[in-house]
C-alpha cells in the first residue's frame, strides 16, 4: 500500500524572477535569473543538481519544445532533463517530477523550474484556446478565452446560490482588492497598485460578469525550486527545512463537460485533489490547520470557488468569509499574501512554483514585516489549468 511522500523531500532553495512585461529579456534570461537565486539560496553549485524538470505551458510562444531550452540556458552538464506541460498547472507538474524523483530514491538533489515568456504573442490574454486543445476541439469548441471559460462558472455559481449579480460582483471585487493590497507590497509583483472595490466594479467588462480587475495579468517570469532528500537538508543551509507534505493532481474525465451531473458552480477536480492531498499530508480540518493559501486566482471567481472546493469555506458561503476578511493578510487564513496571479500575472509554466516560493518564504519567515504572516507552519498551493468544465488541479502542501 502506497503511503505517499509526506516529509520525504525538502525544499532547500528557491528563486523567482521579477514578473512583468519583461520586453528586454528572453526565457533563457528568466531561467538563469530564477535558477541563480535558488542556487544561492540552497548554497549549492550547478554540478550538485542531478536531474531537472522544466515546465513551460505554451512553448510555441517563446520557450520552444523539449527540455533543451533549459539545459542550453543553464549549460547543465548533460544530466537528465525533462520537459513537462499540463496547462496552467505546469509549474506544479515540474515540481512533482523533481519531488517524486527524489522520493523514489533515484536522485538526492533535483531542480524544478517553470518559465513562460507570454509577452511575445503581440496581443493581450493567452493564445487561442481551442487551437491548443487538439485538432478536433479546434472545430467544436466555442470561441472561448480563459476569462470567458471562468466567467461561465460565475453565472452558474450566482444562480445556484441565489446571489444577485451586483452582490456577486462586489464579493469578487473584494477578492481582487485584497490581492492588490498584498501585491502592492511585493517587489517582484507585476501589478503593484492598490485599487478600491469601486474601481474594480467599474472597470471594463472582459467576459461578463468579470471586469478587467477580476482577471490576472499576463506576464513573463520564471520560478525555480531545488529539492533534496529530507534527511540531507541538515547538511545544507536549512536546519529546519520546508518539507513537502503532499503533492496531488486531479484531472477531468470529461464528466463535467459531457455528462449532466455537474452544476457548473464549482470545480470537481479541486475537491478530489484536495481530499487526497489532505489525506497524504494528514490534514484533518483544513480550516484549522492550514495557515496560508496561494490559490490559482486567474480570475476572482476561481479564487471564490477554490475557497469552498478546498474545504475551507462552506459551500455557498465563501462570500461571508470574504466579507469577514478571513482571507486577508491579517485574517485567519491569509490567501495570496504575495498578491497572487492577480498581481504577479500568470506566466503559465512559472505560476505553480511562484506560489510555492511565497509559501516557502512565509514558512521561513523571511518576507519582511509588511507581509509576514505570524508563525505559519503549513501552507497550500492550488494550481489550476484549463476551464472549470475541463481542467486539472494540482495541490501542494508544504510545511515545517
Amino acid at each position: 500500500m502506497a503511503e505517499g511522500i509526506k516529509d520525504q523531500v525538502a525544499i532547500i532553495g528557491m528563486g523567482c524572477t521579477k514578473f512583468g512585461e519583461r520586453w528586454d529579456v528572453g526565457s533563457e534570461d528568466l531561467m538563469i535569473e530564477a535558477f541563480q537565486e535558488a542556487l544561492d539560496d540552497a548554497g549549492l553549485e550547478k554540478k550538485d543538481i542531478q536531474a531537472a524538470w522544466l515546465g513551460s505551458g505554451v512553448g510555441e510562444v517563446n520557450v520552444g519544445k523539449s527540455a533543451l531550452p533549459l539545459s542550453f540556458a543553464l549549460k547543465l552538464p548533460m544530466i537528465p532533463v525533462t520537459k513537462v506541460e499540463n496547462f496552467c498547472a505546469t509549474g506544479s507538474e515540474a515540481l512533482r517530477g523533481a519531488v517524486y524523483a527524489v522520493a523514489s530514491g533515484a536522485y538526492d538533489i533535483c531542480l524544478a523550474i517553470g518559465v513562460e515568456k507570454l509577452k511575445d504573442t503581440g496581443f493581450g490574454g493567452l493564445p487561442d484556446m481551442p487551437s491548443i486543445m487538439g485538432t478536433k476541439n479546434r472545430h467544436i469548441m466555442p470561441n472561448i478565452t480563459a476569462p470567458g471559460g471562468f466567467a461561465m462558472m460565475a453565472s452558474a455559481y450566482f444562480k445556484k446560490h441565489g446571489i444577485a449579480p451586483k452582490e456577486g460582483k462586489e464579493v469578487l471585487a473584494m477578492i481582487s482588492a485584497k490581492s492588490h493590497k498584498n501585491g502592492a507590497k511585493h517587489p517582484k509583483a507585476h501589478l503593484r497598485k492598490e485599487i478600491t472595490v469601486e474601481q474594480i466594479m467599474k472597470a471594463p467588462i472582459i467576459a461578463s460578469p468579470l471586469g478587467l480587475f477580476d482577471c490576472c495579468g499576463v506576464s513573463d517570469g520564471a520560478a525555480a525550486a531545488i529539492v533534496c532528500r529530507a534527511d540531507m537538508a541538515k547538511h545544507f543551509k536549512k536546519p529546519d527545512p520546508v518539507k513537502i507534505k503532499s503533492i496531488q493532481i486531479a484531472l477531468s474525465s470529461g464528466e463535467e463537460l459531457m455528462y449532466d451531473k455537474w452544476d457548473g458552480s464549482h470545480v470537481i477536480t479541486c475537491r478530489k485533489g484536495a481530499k487526497k492531498a489532505y489525506e497524504e499530508a494528514g490534514v484533518k480540518n483544513p480550516r484549522e490547520e492550514i495557515n496560508m493559501l496561494e490559490v490559482h486566482d486567474c480570475f476572482s471567481i476561481t479564487e471564490l470557488a477554490a475557497y469552498e472546493d478546498l474545504g475551507i469555506s462552506a459551500e455557498g458561503k465563501a462570500s461571508n468569509d470574504v466579507r469577514d476578511g478571513f482571507y486577508n493578510l491579517d485574517g485567519k487564513i491569509p490567501c495570496q499574501p504575495d498578491g497572487g496571479l492577480k498581481c504577479f500575472g500568470h506566466p503559465i509554466g512559472a505560476s505553480g512554483l511562484r506560489m510555492l516560493y511565497e509559501v516557502y518564504n512565509q514558512l521561513l519567515q523571511r518576507v519582511g514585516p509588511e507581509r509576514q504572516i505570524k508563525n505559519p507552519s503549513l501552507g497550500l498551493t492550488h494550481n489550476m489549468g484549463g476551464f472549470p468544465a475541463m481542467n486539472l488541479v494540482s495541490i501542494v502542501i508544504a510545511g515545517l
Binding site: T121, G122, F123, G124, G125, D128, P130, S131, T135, K136, R138, H139, I140, M141, P142, N143, I144, T145, P147, G148, A151, M152, M153, A154, S155, A156, K159, P204, I205, I206, A207, S208, P209, L210, S253, G254, E255, L257, M258, Y259, D260, D263, G264, A389
Partner: protein, 482 residues
C-alpha cells in the same frame, strides 16, 4: 403523381431599414432608395448555412433515410470547388449512398434543380429528393442591388407519396442573357443597364415561361390561385401579371418590402409563401428568372392541411426578427468593409482537413454517442462512456443532437475573443433527453441570455481561414424560436 411532399424556408433574423442604408451611402446614387426593410444574414451565415436552416424546417418531421438525392441551388457558394450539397447533406446526416449536386451560375438554378429532382423521382431513380436554394450575395456599397437584395433560403422535398402539391407541368425558356455576370476572379456582380434587363429580359422571359406552361396545361390565368415570380422592379413585377391576364390578387407578394430580392432562394421562398395560404385544389405557378425562366404549375392536394402550422416557413420567420441599426455592421458582416481584428483575430489556427473528414459526423452532423449499456448521451462521438458509473467501451450508437432543444447551464459574453459581432456569447448547455457540451451562441443579445433559458441549434460558419480558403462550419446555439 410526383410533387412536393414538404417545404421549408429560412430568413435571417437581422432586418435593416433601407433608410439606414440610404442615410449612410445614398449620397452616392440618390435614385437607389427603396421603401421597407431587408433581411441581412449574420456574419456567420452564408448560402450554405441558410440552405441548411431552410432544409431543417422542411425536414422537421421527415424520415431522413428516405431521402436519396440532395440538390443545392445557389450562385454564391462559399466554395468554387467543394460540393455545397454535400456539406449540407452531412449537416442533415443524410445517408452516404445518395446523389448530390450543386446547381449554380444563375438564380434560375433553384427551379432547374427542382425540375431535375422531379425528373429523377418520375424516372424512378429516387424516392425522395431534397432541394435547398439560397443566396448570400456580396454587393458593392451604394448601388441599387444593395437596396434591393436581401438574404434567405427555401427548400422543398420532392416525392410521390403524400404530396402536398403535384406538379401538373412545366415550361422552360433558356437564353444566354447577360443581365449580370461575375467572372472567375470577380468579387462583385457586374450588371448591364436596367432598361435592357427589364425590357429585353425580365418582363419577356417570365411572361414566356408562364404563358408557355398555361398553354401546355390548357389553362387560363383565371384558373390559377397564385402566380409567383421574383420582383426585380416593383412596377414591372405588377405589369407582367397584368399583361398575362392575372389580377393583382393572384400575384404572390414579392417580399421585397420586408426581405428583399433573395436571388436563387427567391422562387422557392415565394412558393412556400403561396403554400402557406393555399387550399386543396389551388393551382400555383412559380417562375424563376436568370438566363431564361422556368415555370412550374402545381396543384395543391388535401395533404396541405397536414403540413400547415408544422413549418416555420415564411410567416414565422418574418416574425422572428432583430433590428440591425448599423450600416457599417452590415457591410462588415459580408467582409466588404475590412475591420481591425487585431493580431488575435488575424491568427486563424490551421484546420486539419483530415480531422474534418474523420470527425464529420460530430462536426457537421452534430452527432454524439448514445451508450447502449447505460443510455448516456454524450458529445462529441465517444468510444468510452463518460458516465463514471458505466465506462462501457465501444457500446455506442450515433445520436443526432442538432434537432434537440437545450437549456443553458452557464454562459458569458466575452470581449476578449475576436468576433465580427462582439461580444462573443457562448454557453454550456444540456440537451433535452441528455447530452451536454459548450457552444457559441448567435442571433442573441447578451442581456437576453440567462441560466436556464431554452435554446436550439443552428448550423453556422465557425471560422473563415482566408489564408487557406477554408470555411469551417459547426453548430451554434440560438434562442429557442418556438
Amino acid at each position: 403523381m410526383v410533387g412536393i411532399v414538404s417545404y421549408g424556408a429560412y430568413i435571417p433574423k437581422y432586418r435593416i431599414d433601407r433608410k439606414i442604408i440610404y442615410k449612410a451611402i445614398g449620397w452616392l446614387n440618390p435614385a437607389t432608395y427603396l421603401p421597407g426593410e431587408k433581411a441581412v444574414a449574420n456574419f456567420d451565415e452564408d448560402s450554405i448555412t441558410m440552405a441548411v436552416a431552410a432544409g431543417i424546417d422542411c425536414l422537421s418531421d421527415i424520415e431522413l433515410d428516405s431521402i436519396d438525392s440532395m440538390f443545392f441551388a445557389t450562385t454564391t457558394s462559399p466554395y468554387k470547388e467543394r460540393l455545397g450539397a454535400q456539406i449540407i447533406s452531412t449537416a442533415f446526416n443524410l445517408r452516404d449512398d445518395i446523389r448530390t449536386a450543386d446547381f449554380t451560375d444563375s438564380p434560375k438554378a433553384a427551379t432547374t434543380a427542382m425540375l431535375s429532382a422531379i425528373d429523377a423521382v418520375k424516372a424512378g431513380n429516387t424516392d425522395k429528393s431534397l432541394v435547398c436554394a439560397s443566396d448570400c450575395r456580396k454587393v458593392k456599397p451604394g448601388g441599387s442591388q444593395e437596396q434591393l437584395f436581401g438574404e434567405g433560403a427555401g427548400s422543398v422535398l420532392i416525392g410521390k407519396e403524400g404530396s402536398i402539391a403535384n406538379l401538373v407541368d412545366s415550361y422552360s425558356v433558356s437564353y444566354d442573357f447577360t443581365d449580370h455576370w461575375r467572372s472567375e476572379d470577380d468579387k462583385f456582380d457586374r450588371q448591364w443597364e436596367d432598361r435592357f434587363i427589364r425590357d429585353a429580359g425580365y418582363k419577356k422571359f417570365i411572361g414566356e415561361a408562364i404563358s408557355g406552361v398555361l398553354k401546355k396545361c390548357n389553362l387560363e390565368p383565371k384558373d390559377i390561385a397564385k402566380v409567383c415570380y421574383p420582383s426585380l422592379y416593383a412596377g414591372d413585377h405588377k405589369s407582367i401579371a397584368r399583361n398575362l391576364g392575372f389580377t393583382p390578387e393572384q400575384l404572390q407578394d414579392s417580399m421585397v418590402a420586408n426581405v428583399g430580392y433573395t436571388g436563387t432562394g427567391n422562387s422557392l421562398m415565394l412558393l412556400v409563401a403561396a403554400f402557406e395560404d393555399a387550399n386543396p385544389g389551388d393551382k400555383i405557378i412559380v417562375a424563376s428568372f436568370g438566363s431564361g425562366s422556368d415555370a412550374l404549375l402545381f396543384e395543391v392536394t388535401e395533404e396541405i392541411n397536414n403540413i400547415k402550422g408544422k413549418r416555420k416557413g415564411i410567416k414565422k420567420h418574418l416574425e422572428l426578427k432583430r433590428d440591425l441599426d448599423n450600416y457599417a455592421k452590415m457591410i462588415s458582416f459580408r467582409n466588404i468593409l475590412p475591420v481591425e481584428k487585431g493580431i488575435r483575430g488575424e491568427k486563424i489556427p490551421f484546420s486539419a482537413l483530415t480531422e474534418m473528414w474523420r470527425s464529420r459526423k460530430s462536426i457537421l452532423g452534430l452527432c454524439g454517442s448514445k451508450c447502449k449499456a447505460c443510455g448516456t448521451i454524450q458529445f462529441p462521438i465517444q468510444r468510452v462512456c463518460v458516465n463514471p458509473d458505466c465506462g462501457a467501451v465501444d457500446k455506442m450508437e450515433d445520436c443526432q443532437l442538432s434537432n434537440k432543444k437545450g437549456t443553458v447551464l452557464m454562459f458569458t459574453g466575452d470581449n476578449l475573443a475576436f468576433t465580427p459581432n462582439p461580444p462573443q456569447v457562448y454557453c454550456t448547455l444540456d440537451f433535452e433527453g441528455g447530452g451536454r457540451s459548450w457552444f457559441d451562441m448567435t442571433d442573441v443579445d447578451l442581456e437576453n441570455v440567462s441560466v436556464g433559458m431554452s435554446v436550439e441549434m443552428s448550423f453556422r460558419r465557425k471560422y473563415l481561414d482566408e489564408a487557406f480558403g477554408v470555411h469551417g462550419y459547426f453548430w451554434k446555439a440560438i434562442p429557442s424560436t418556438e
